[in-house]
Each structure stands twice: as C-alpha cells, then as structure tokens.
Amino acid sequence: MVTALWASLGAAGSDTHAQAPVTIFFYSAESNINNFSSLKAEFDRYLAAQGPFRFQPFSDRATFERSIGAEREGVFVLSSWHYRNLKDRVPMEPLLVGVSRNASDHRLALSVRGTITSLDQLRRATVASAVSDEYTNTLLRQMMPGTGRGSDRDARVLVVPKDIDALMAVGFGMADAAVTTEDGLAQLARANPKLAGGLHTLARSERVLLPVVAVPRGVSDAARNLVAIVEAMGKDAEGARRLNMLGFDALKRLSEAEIRTLNR
C-alpha cells in the first residue's frame, strides 16, 4: 500500500530523486533513544522499498541543528520542545505529530520512593531521566515552581538510556527521583508491579506534544512525498514496527490547535 502511495505521489519527481535521496533527519531530546545503528538499518530498509529515501539519526544535538539548518530538501523528526526552541532559527513547517495509545501528547511525571513525601526532601537529590539534562531541568522548573528547586544548579540529573532505567534506578536506590513519561510508569507497573508500587508521583508536567515531523519552509514535492510515506507507516505492520522503535504507534496531521501550541 505504501509502495503504491509512493508510485502515485512520487512518479513525477522520480528522476530527481534517483540523483539525490531525500533524508529523514532524526534527533529527539525528549527520549534518550540511542539504538541508532538499528534505527538506521531498519528505516533505510523500509524506505528503500518506497523510493530514493534514507534515514539519518543523530546522537548529538548541535550536529543535528547544524545539519537541518543547512538542509533544504529534508524531513525533520524532532521533539516538540526542541521544535519550539529551534523554530525561530530554522524556518520550518510542522506537518505531523506522533501518536501513542491514540494520543498525540503526554505528560511527564516526577516519581520518588515512598520515603520521600515532599519536594523539599529532594533538594540536591539525584534525578534519573531518559531525556537530556537541559530538558529535564526545564521540566523540573515547570513541575516545581517556587520551591527553590529547579535551577540548573540544584538539579543533579543522571541521564539514563530509557524511562524504565530511570524508574528502576529510583526503585533500586541508585537515584532519588525520576522524570519519566506516564507511559514509562505504566510499563513498569505491568512488568514489575511491586517495584512500581513502591514509587509515587510527586508532580506532573503540563501535557507535551509528542515528537513532530517538519520540513523546511518552501520545500520541494519530493520531501512532501516522503512525509506522506511516513504518515502512512502506521497503517502497515512493518511500518508500525519501525515507528514503535521511535516510541509511537502512528503519525497524524497536526491540528490547527496543535500548530498554534507549537508556535506559541
């Protein structure tokens, strides 16, 4: 089906594509995804069947930002928080947003062990998190206004590879608190209910849009065709499996309200 979509959308530009593959640039500050070699192999294999496309994940934020700043034909996948930080420097048009469990946004939670009952007890604590140090501090400031905590000076962030690592770090005593998605908490509750039962949530963030797909302003049809292919990935099993690797089940068109939120 996706192949057919490519055939219908991309036939006119196929000569150009054969010379210059269109690239998906991926970086997410919102999830500490680090399975880059697997991601690249899996997405490249999937996209190669659709046309002259490739996938390029980035582990380094500065390199990602430099790369997309110079790119005129690419497709960018980045966290909504990162998009909002970048949009004034890199002219982009947001088109899609990730969907997980039928929702295009989520909240993050600050979880602690049962012995900690107030934010005051968390001063100078180690906070495990699967997102970047900078984003964790942004969330902490949002979740703990006026407590004296939340400045970069106070937050000791231990960056770990995934939400469940952060939560287990608290449960097993390697950290005092964890900032994770609520989905991460639900995962731990299913896998290890006793450990999850020993944690409780002290604070929650506002709802945050999941990662978005954007293109440079004035991009060609070729990149828009690739966006359409990516949008359809959630509708076939092989595509959905790859989207799962990024943490979502599907992608959908951004609503006007969501675009307004992103551009605030």
Binding site: N34, P161, D163, M174, A240
Partner: protein, 318 residues
Amino acid sequence: MMNQILRRRTQGLRTPGARLGCALLIASTSAPLSAQPRILIVNSDQSVPRYAGAHTSFKGALGGNIDEIDLAAAKGPEAALRNLIASVDPGVVYCIGSQAYLMTNQVAKNRQIIVSSAINVSRFPRAPRVFGIATEIQPAAQMTFFRLLFPKVRRIGLLYSADYNGEFAREAEAQDADLNLEIVARPVRKPSDLPGALRALLPTVDALWLIPDPVVLADAASVESIFAEADSRSKAIFAYDAAFSQRGAALAITSDIATIGRQAARLAQDLLEGRTPQGAVRSPAGSELTVNLATVARYKMELNPDALPSVNHFIPLK
C-alpha cells in the same frame, strides 16, 4: 607521543607535579586554578572501548578540572601513577578497570577511590574510602526486562555454580514471585555436569538465563553445547553479553557504559562535597538491550511491541 602516554591538564598555575621535571606532565590551559579539589582518572587501557566510554562520559558529566592517565600507554605505569598522585593531590581518583583499581589502591592508600568497569567489583579488597559502580545488572532488574519484553515467558531456567553465583541465584529466586516469574535455579558443581543439567532443566522451562559463570561457561565448547541443546528444544536464551545475540540468544542485557561513567561522576561530586554515598557498590543504572528478531520469530515468541523503543539493538530477520 607524550600526550598520548600521559595527558595532564592543569588549570593555570603549575602544580608540584610540574616541578618534578618529569616531561610526562604537560601543562596546558590558561584558565584560573579552581579551588575545587581535583579529580584524577586512572584508566587501565583507554584503547578498550568500554573503558574509553566510561572515561568519556565521566568527563562529559563533570567537565573542568580533571587529570588523567592511561596505564596501558604509560612507561613504568606504577611510578607514573605515583608521581601523578603526588603532584595532583586528587580529592577523588576514578579507576576504570581492575588493573587501574588494584594499582591505585596500592599507591594511594589514603585517597577516596571510585572504581567501575571491572568484573565483580563487590568482591574486590576494599577500604571504607572505596566506592564502586558494578558492571553486572542486578537480577531483579534483568527479570523486569524479561517481563517487559517477553510477557508470556514465565518459567526461566538458571544454571550456576554455588561458589560463584549462589547469591545471585538466591536473589533471583527470592524475587521471582513479585515479578510473576518462576526461576528454576539448578547448581552445577563441575563443567562435566553441564550436559546432564541442561538435559534435565530445559524441558521444564520456557527460557534459559545465561549468566557469567566460570563453571557453566567453562570454555567455548560449553557455550556451543548450551546453544545447541536449547535450539534443539526451541528454548530461548536470555544472556548477559550482546555477543551471545549474534549466536542466537533472543535477548541480551548489558549495562550501559556511558551511564556508568555518569554515575561515577555523580559519586565523585558527592565525595568532593563531603557527602557519604549510601552503599559501597552501586548497581549500574542504565541498560543496553539487544533482541534477536530471527530467534524471536523462529521460536514464535511474543515480543511486547510497547517495549520496542527500549531495545537498543536488533539482530534483524534473515
């Protein structure tokens, strides 16, 4: 060349070490001297990727005032280390690998030491001033990953030698009910007992948990016999090293090297600020998961799709 053998960064003023006349010490930056106590990294061999990874992430987490030595590249490493410790006067020494720790513990008897990236850190001779980050992920954390990724797998076999892994097996068995698992642990006294133990255990379990055990995994032939026997019965193997995934293990769980370096950095901060960490040895807080999709498909295992973002590496379908 000397830069490669022994790298030293000072923050402005020359230190006693620079007065040694030892060409090994290289003063570099012109930033002002920090009032903070200094940190020294002693790396057993920086050409080893897992040592280099911990080293890099430790420096990345702390930045600033850090001195370092690569023992494998140093001529007369013990004397070089002794001189460096005398000149730097570090508040904390971070040792990466067994050799770094054992040497540092000999030459720096009154220093606060953090050790990581060494097998069985908890068994090292240790003073109260020594703290460690273990390499091995604790049993309950591994079992949580079993449940997360393969929720239908319930009975898991574990072969171990009582001398080396008796505590590990007891800990796993003590927590299996909490995770709705059943760990079927069977001791193996000597390598020649392995074939019989495998034949008795495998028919009774859904999967086999492979742990680093010198009796069970005595040699390459033992590894081969385990994989062959498990494969003949379509029993998945959950292993402790990603190399086993290439051999057919459905899942491998290893500690994340970069996280270990960051944990050591947090520990160093605590020590320099005069706070005593809880517990001498901490478990690694980060994990790296490898799933062999070919094995999963061949054994018709149910892989939880919600857990896929947590998987770092996939061995693809053939």
